[in-house]
């Protein structure tokens, strides 16, 4: 998390449910948590740090170490892959409520952020730090986030495979008309080199 990009969060802060009425309702309305009961959602938010993300702020920067994932509760972010340089066009994807950014922090100990994430509009999210969630095994809400992120990863890899196929197809030579009968490559080579028999 870059300094100065959040309001209402500080290291180690926890969500004051009394100060955020309706937060559990907001979470319960997300398809991600349709099979998760309210007690489990309450337990999730009490471990999280609330983050308010101002429109235009950079939430995560590509290449930086990540120590926390952010579950977007409201608003919209944008995830940008690629450097944006002339040889590497930027690929962007919207991040909507229920999506999680920086999820590598939940799954690995040292992987870096692979996309830059900026806030499109004023947004609100819950920050799940590696320190607080790394050793948690009994949270149905966290399990739901993990499953959702696995599905997102699988989608991303399938899209990459499709991109590879498209690139191969675009680079393939144009199909040539079939050689007339009796004029195959073998026939032409035989005419050029003569028959070995």
């Amino acid at each position: 998390m870059l300094p100065g990009t959040t309001l209402g969060s500080r290291p180690g802060a926890t969500v004051d449910l009394a100060a955020m009425p309706g937060l559990v309702d907001q979470l319960a309305a997300l398809p991600l948590f349709r099979n998760v009961d309210r007690d489990a959602l309450t337990a999730l938010v009490t471990r999280c740090e609330p983050v308010r993300l101002m429109a235009g702020s950079v939430v995560l920067r590509r290449g930086d170490p990540v120590d926390a994932a952010i579950l977007l509760v409201s608003g919209q972010l944008q995830s940008s892959g690629g450097s944006g340089g002339p040889d590497e066009p930027e690929v962007t994807a919207p991040v909507r409520p229920g999506d999680t950014v920086g999820a590598a922090a939940l799954f690995t100990r040292s992987r870096r952020q692979d996309a830059t994430v900026t806030a499109e509009v004023d947004s609100f999210g819950l920050r799940l730090t590696r320190g607080r969630f790394g050793g948690v095994h009994d949270s149905p809400a966290l399990a739901a986030i993990e499953r959702s992120q696995l599905a997102a990863l699988a989608r991303r890899l399938r899209n990459e495979n499709r991109a590879v196929r498209r690139a191969w197809k675009a680079a393939a030579p144009e199909p040539t008309a079939a050689a007339p009968s009796g004029d195959s490559l073998f026939d032409r080579l035989r005419r050029l080199l003569g028959s070995a028999s």
Binding site: T108, R109, D114, H137, V164, W168, K169
Partner: protein, 204 residues
């Protein structure tokens, strides 16, 4: 089976994939329910388009991942080195296999086959077993992001991922294989899986 050997295999998997919050004990339960197989180089483990019926844990050798191009020719996308998982994308989204996986060696390729029904018992659990499995699968997928773009077959056709980390050398292959070969009876006999009511419903 020696549980210590299985635990050691899981320890290495967690360490090498840099998995956060998984325990070798939790992962060992899933792996202990699988079947150990060994195949010769060139063996097709599964083909592109096939139904996704299992996840594989590569413990010795390499696996070449191939895609079919528009002319029907199989081209190498990337090569996986042990220890890692493969075939996990199909398990997650139920889609047909997106690529063909071929044992590459050197020597025999050993892997554990985790059938879908077995994984279903563990994947949804909210305990050490479920968390360990989910996080290990995720950690095995993350390095694949950008890997295709580094492939020789793709080369300059697609922009490269500047943060892609190539896999480390596989000097430990033989050590993992030695460990795997000490497993005589691939049956779990010392770790008990306790099924919850939700698990039982899912099994039905």
């Amino acid at each position: 089976m020696k549980v210590e050997v299985l635990l050691e295999l899981c320890n290495r998997l967690i360490r090498d994939l840099d998995v956060q919050g998984a325990t070798s004990r939790g992962l060992a339960v899933a792996m202990g329910l699988g079947e150990l197989r060994q195949v010769e180089p060139g063996t097709v483990i599964f083909e592109e388009g096939a139904p996704p019926e299992a996840v594989y844990v590569l413990i010795q050798g390499r696996v070449r991942v191939e895609l079919q191009d528009s002319q029907g020719q199989r081209r190498e996308l990337t090569t996986l080195r042990s220890p890692t998982l493969f075939g996990q994308m199909g398990y997650i989204d139920l889609s047909p296999r997106s690529a063909t996986c071929v044992a590459q060696g050197p020597g025999a390729t050993s892997f554990i086959v985790l059938e879908r029904q077995v994984l279903e018992m563990i994947f949804h659990r909210t305990d050490e077993l479920g968390t360990s499995l989910r996080r290990t699968i995720a950690a095995s997928l993350l390095p694949l992001v950008g890997a295709a773009r580094e492939s020789d077959a793709v080369d300059s056709l697609l922009p490269r991922d500047p943060f892609y980390r190539p896999p480390q050398d596989d000097a430990q292959d033989s050590e993992l294989g030695r460990l795997a070969s000490t497993i005589q009876d691939w049956e779990l006999d010392e770790v008990e899986v306790v099924y919850t009511e939700a698990d039982q419903r899912r099994r039905r």
